[in-house]
């Protein structure tokens, strides 16, 4: 797998590609995708030899964000790709490309209610059959945050150096030795 080749292809498939500090965040690249490019992206990653680590959802405004994580077996390259669901809370499935996504997508449907189009068997996986409408991991109104609140903030600029201070009050005289 040639990382430069792969990155070039990512520029065409993804809207943003960001290199991330592994020592802090534990992954190498973070990508944002359009919903219609998700399947092409997955097919490309399978061809390049990446395996699907994880598929999960985060409930933010304006829409639920679905996060895919891939990693490579031979060279160290851990990639996170995100896409937003549409207004009907739907997302195309990648379970015909990566069969492991079959169960991950069922679980995401259980917890967040995201419906994956053309999934072969979208029944509850972890919750009981009767609890399809429970959607436990959706946030209550009070706790729901905007997507910008969970993005990495740029480091704060260094505080401006203070202007030279006027001579301050005299320093305190040293405590006398008589106090004992």
């Amino acid at each position: 797998m040639d990382i430069n080749n792969v990155k070039k292809q990512w520029q065409t498939l993804a809207t943003t590609v960001e290199a991330v500090d592994y020592a802090v965040s534990g992954h190498d690249y973070s990508l944002s995708l359009e919903r219609d490019k998700v399947r092409d992206f997955a097919a490309f990653m399978l061809e390049e030899g990446f395996y699907l680590v994880d598929l999960m959802a985060v409930h933010v405004t304006p829409a639920i964000e679905v996060v895919y994580q891939f990693a490579h077996v031979e060279t160290r390259c851990r990639v996170l790709a995100r896409a937003f669901v549409d207004d009907n809370v739907e997302m195309p499935t990648i379970s015909d490309i990566y069969q492991g996504a079959n169960w991950h997508e069922r679980e995401t449907r259980d917890f967040h209610g995201v419906v994956f189009i053309d999934h072969p068997y979208l029944h509850p996986l972890i919750l009981p059959e009767e609890d399809v409408e429970l959607k436990p991991l959706l946030k209550a109104e009070a706790k729901l945050k905007d997507v910008e609140a969970i993005r990495r903030q740029p480091p704060e600029p260094a505080p401006e150096p203070k202007p030279k201070a006027k001579p301050e009050a005299k320093p305190e005289p040293p405590k006398s030795q008589e106090q004992s």
Binding site: L127, P128, E130, L134, K135, P136, L138, A140
Partner: protein, 197 residues
């Protein structure tokens, strides 16, 4: 989600049906819902209870972490075989003791009640571990799936606290169950309670 939450900490949809079947079986009651024998003779009762207490056959019902300590208890170091309880049967029809070792959740509750009903009387239940006693570390506000204590579903005879309880605690639980069945604790040296207990 809020209406669900209100009912969470008490009773769930399937478990409610299970509780209705037992008509208020709770931890306070010591009698089980099994029918008493038709003919009772004191001497034969005593002999049968002695035999039952010394050959309790547990059902393999390890649900999570406590199951490993139950397995350790059956192995060479802690050895439940000394007390007659090492024959773990996979089928409830052949067992008379159900050691609920682990967390019971709403999906598992009907299965647990079905297994309890399939056991022939006289049958006993040990709730092993904090999860089976009262929900354990999962009895928090955020919980939506865990049944808080197996005694909401079936009558329990002995509770063993711990997360997970040591194998020695499980052996003590079995000895207490023997005491409950026969009325006394056997005067063997290894069965003595430690001083101050």
């Amino acid at each position: 989600m809020d209406e669900q939450k209100k009912s969470l900490l008490n009773v769930h949809s399937y478990t409610k049906e299970c509780i209705e079947r037992y008509d208020g079986a709770s931890s306070q009651q010591t009698k089980t819902s099994d029918a008493p024998p038709l003919i009772r003779m004191k001497l034969s009762d005593a002999i049968f209870n002695l035999c039952r207490a010394n050959s309790l056959w547990p059902l393999t019902f390890g649900l999570s972490c406590c199951a490993i300590e139950m397995m350790c208890c059956g192995m060479a170091r802690f050895d439940m075989a000394r007390y007659g309880a090492e024959v773990f049967r996979p089928s409830p029809r052949q067992s008379d003791l159900m050691i609920v070792a682990g967390t019971v959740n709403r999906k598992m509750a009907p299965a647990l009640v079905t297994l309890y009903e399939q056991m022939p009387a006289p049958r006993y239940v040990i709730a092993m571990g904090n999860c089976a006693m009262a929900g354990g570390p999962f009895a928090v506000e955020a919980n939506y799936d865990v049944v808080l204590g197996v005694d909401q579903l079936i009558p329990v005879d002995v509770y063993i606290p711990g997360c997970p309880p040591r194998p020695e605690a499980l052996i003590e639980g079995i000895l207490q169950l023997q005491e409950k069945i026969t009325g006394k604790r056997f005067p063997l040296p290894q069965n003595k309670m430690p001083k101050g207990a």
